[in-house]
């Protein structure tokens, strides 16, 4: 029986977490997993947090990941990485996009952005990877492909073959963006 896997994707509206979730779900489906995905996106377009939970396994019941039980957290934004860290398993992996997006309370001076969030995550989590996905995506030809760079990094760490990932990517990304996204995926996969 295959081990079940809990993957949490966290970010801010507009960062492409939903597309990344769809690629992941497609890949998991192709690999023969049972899947549950939970998306709370009501405020996604208005700068709110976006969290999607993906659970894979032989048979999955709950669509929710419990605190302390995520095998991987894919954080599209630094502070969100810190916010959702309590969901990480003791030996889980957290992949962090080295990007800060200040929420309005920070912009208006009512709150302060924790500049040390990466250090704090590194102190607390045993496996932390930090990547400048935005710059890698720019080099690939489109800053919007940062999500796919992160997908590539996630893909390397999951028991799903690269062929399946590429197939899923092609199935879920609009055709005119496929080249830049394949490049972005490779970059992330090889990190």
């Amino acid at each position: 029986m295959r081990k079940s896997l809990n993957i949490l994707l966290v970010g801010v509206g507009g960062q492409g977490t939903i597309l990344a979730t769809r690629v992941l779900a497609k890949a998991a489906q192709e690999a023969g997993y049972d899947i549950k995905v939970s998306e709370i996106k009501g405020m996604a377009q208005r700068g709110g947090s976006v969290v999607t939970q993906v659970r894979l396994g032989e048979k999955v019941y709950s669509p929710l990941i419990a605190e302390g039980s995520a095998d991987v957290i894919l954080a599209f934004e630094k502070m969100e990485a810190l916010r959702w860290l309590p969901y990480l398993k003791q030996d889980g992996h957290i992949i962090i996009n080295d990007q800060a997006i200040a929420p309005v309370p920070v912009l208006t001076g009512a709150a302060v952005y924790p500049e040390d969030c990466l250090e704090r995550v590194k102190q607390l989590a045993s496996h932390t990877m930090v990547v400048d996905a935005l710059n890698i995506a720019v080099d690939c030809g489109n800053p919007k492909a940062a999500n796919v760079v992160l997908m590539g990094m996630l893909a390397k760490r999951l028991p799903i073959t690269k062929e399946i990932w590429l197939k899923a990517l092609k199935a879920r990304v609009p055709e005119r963006f496929i080249d830049v996204n394949l490049k972005a995926f490779e970059q992330g996969f090889n990190l």
């Binding site: 998306e39 996106k41 700068g47 709950s62 669509p63 605190e67 309005v104 009512a110 704090r120």
Partner: protein, 590 residues
């Protein structure tokens, strides 16, 4: 073929497969995607109605005329539709009718957390509760059969986690679409008292038949396991139970009104102790207690918010029953942070043309009677420009009430409401203002869409759900026809004009309407121009531009800063800057 579908997409697919040909609803999270998805299937008709009451009335007519019908709304929408619903329960149906009530435990996007299963109890209609997408799809066809067999509307009650979670669904071919013949039947469809009394008796007979049906309904089933505890559950909680107490005996109820009393008694007799695990209110628990059974539930688990495997494991562990260790242990939660992190509240978008309205209202220190939609975000800091928000359309009636209670408030109170919300249920409030001699000022913020739920068409946008051109409601002509004499239209990107309009209309001792018109910044038809930027030498760091609460503006190194990629060049910050330090890019020397 299997597809990974959200609960909402599964409902739409189920409706298509089951031969539903007419669907109506009003957008509302978490229900909105059902109708949007259904509208894309061939050979069906789907529409947004101005509100949920009309949607259910359209559904009632379509059913009486012989079609299978789907009506969708969020939980609070059922309050609006409650009037036709209570009597539709009497008339029954011709073609099967499914009413979707999408409840929102945890209040992810709602103003309250009502448990709409009680509507089924009070209306004496069947209630179905799916726990995942496959069940959601299956329950549409099963619900239609129940509806037609027992001559009743059927409530299919979703929750956010079922609506917005994805799981595998078996896709089938659609069955043929049959329209039942229409036959005039006043005794059944004309609810005058004499006929209503006859149907009232039918209601009791039907409930008895539905009870008997519920006993053998395959949607209610027992999974025997460890008999030291028996769990009765419904909806998403079933999946949490399978994880938190995988060995427990479970009675899973998919048909939750009327309840299968004998099945429940049989289950109770087979276990040592009985626990009900349900989200929100003790709907099942109260009825099971009324059967004279000893049962626990809300003494162990919260009656508000969402449940989870962890909450259930921790709540039930003190009973001494076996729960999954992983969920029981306060997990070795990695303490993320001693100090709480800054929140990430939703905000009005960068470039939202209506941001300036709230800036202006706050500057004029007005009492703002607010409403549902994007504009509720005007209540957030730093705009802080809202005093009340109750339900769809409440802003106008509440403003009138404030004025009647305290005449001093008349000159400093405004109601603020969006275009779709005004057409939903603001119109009647405005009629009340005119009729009862109110002098309120109503701002209709017309962004040419139903924005908060993700840009649905409405009667003022000129298009329908199915993409057909439609006449646009002329808001100015409508409010004039109601009897408002002071009606003006303002562009919210012109702060001076907006300020003057607000000052003049609040001062006027008669009802007034300001139609504030600009398309939502996220629409394709929104106008954008060069982003703003800060002339650092001119900026005196007064922070006035920050009071707009625009996510594109921040303070960096004691100067204001505009993030160009976010800014759509609305120009509001240029208008509020006292030093002219904010300029359009490329126009520094203009």
């Amino acid at each position: 073929m299997k597809e990974l579908l959200s609960g909402n997409a599964a409902i739409a697919r189920g409706a298509f497969e089951a031969g539903i040909t007419v669907a109506a609803g009003y957008p509302g999270t978490p229900s909105t995607e059902i109708l949007e998805t259904f509208a894309k299937y061939p050979d069906i008709y789907a529409q947004w109605s101005p509100n949920e009451k009309v949607a259910l009335e359209v559904g009632a007519g379509a059913s009486i005329a012989g079609a299978r019908v789907l009506v969708t709304m969020k939980h609070v929408g059922v309050n609006v539709a409650a009037d036709p619903l209570f009597t539709l329960a009497y008339t029954g149906v011709n073609g099967g009718l499914i009413l979707i009530s999408a409840d929102d435990p945890g209040m992810h996007s709602s103003q309250n957390e009502q448990d709409n299963r009680f509507y089924a109890l009070m209306n004496k209609i069947p209630c179905l509760e799916p726990s995942d997408s496959q069940e959601a799809k299956d329950m549409v066809s099963q619900g239609l059969e129940i509806s037609e067999q027992f001559d009743t509307p059927v409530m299919l009650r979703l929750t956010t986690r079922v609506s917005h979670s994805q799981s595998f669904v078996e896709i089938k071919e659609p069955s043929p679409k049959n329209i039942r013949p229409y036959a005039k039947d006043p005794l059944k469809y004309v609810m005058v008292p004499a006929y209503g009394r006859l149907r009232r008796i039918f209601l009791e007979e039907r409930t008895a038949q539905l009870k008997a049906y519920s006993e053998n309904c395959p949607l209610n089933f027992i999974e025997w396991g460890d008999r030291s505890v028996g769990i009765i559950t419904s909806g998403i909680s079933y999946h949490y139970i399978k994880e938190a107490l995988p060995n427990a005996s479970v009675l899973k109820l998919g048909f939750t009104h009327p309840l299968p009393e004998n099945l429940i008694k049989e289950f109770a007799a087979g276990v040592e102790r009985l626990v009900v695990v349900e989200e929100l209110e003790p709907f099942l628990e109260l009825q099971i207690k009324a059967l004279g059974l000893t049962v626990q539930g809300k003494d162990l688990l919260p009656s508000y918010g969402e449940l989870s495997a962890s909450i259930i494991a921790r709540g039930l562990a003190p009973l001494g029953i076996a729960v999954t260790e992983e969920y029981l242990a306060q997990p070795e939660v990695i303490a993320a942070s001693e100090t709480p992190l800054p929140g990430r509240p939703p905000v009005m978008c960068a470039g939202c043309p209506h941001r300036g309205v709230f800036y202006t209202l706050q500057k004029n220190k007005l009492v703002v009677s607010g409403d549902i939609g994007c504009y509720t975000l005007g209540s957030m800091s730093p705009l802080n420009a809202m005093d009340t928000c109750i339900c769809m359309g409440a802003s106008i009636g509440a403003a009138l009430g404030m004025e009647k209670a305290n005449p001093d408030m008349a000159r400093r109170t405004v109601a603020v409401i969006g275009d779709s919300t005004f057409l939903h249920s603001g119109v009647t409030g405005l009629i009340d203002v005119v009729y009862n001699g109110g002098t309120s000022t109503v701002l209709i913020l017309d962004n040419r869409t139903t924005a908060m739920t993700g840009h649905q068409e409405n009667p003022a946008t000129g298009s329908t759900l199915m993409g057909k051109p439609a006449p646009e409601v002329d808001l100015e002509a409508l409010v004039r026809a109601i009897g408002v004499k002071r009606v003006r239209t303002v562009d919210p990107l012109n702060l001076k004009e907006l300020d003057r309009a607000v000052k003049e209309e609040t001062a006027a001792i008669e009802p007034s309407v300001i139609v504030v018109r600009r398309p939502c910044a996220l629409l394709k038809k929104a106008i954008t121009s060069e982003p703003a930027e800060v002339n650092k030498e001119a900026c005196i760091n007064c922070g006035i531009c920050l009071k707009l609460g625009c996510p594109a503006i921040s303070r960096q190194e004691d100067k204001s800063h505009v993030t160009a990629i976010q800014c759509n060049g609305c120009g509001l910050c240029l208008q509020v800057c006292p030093k002219g330090a904010l300029v359009k890019r490329g126009e520094e020397n203009a």
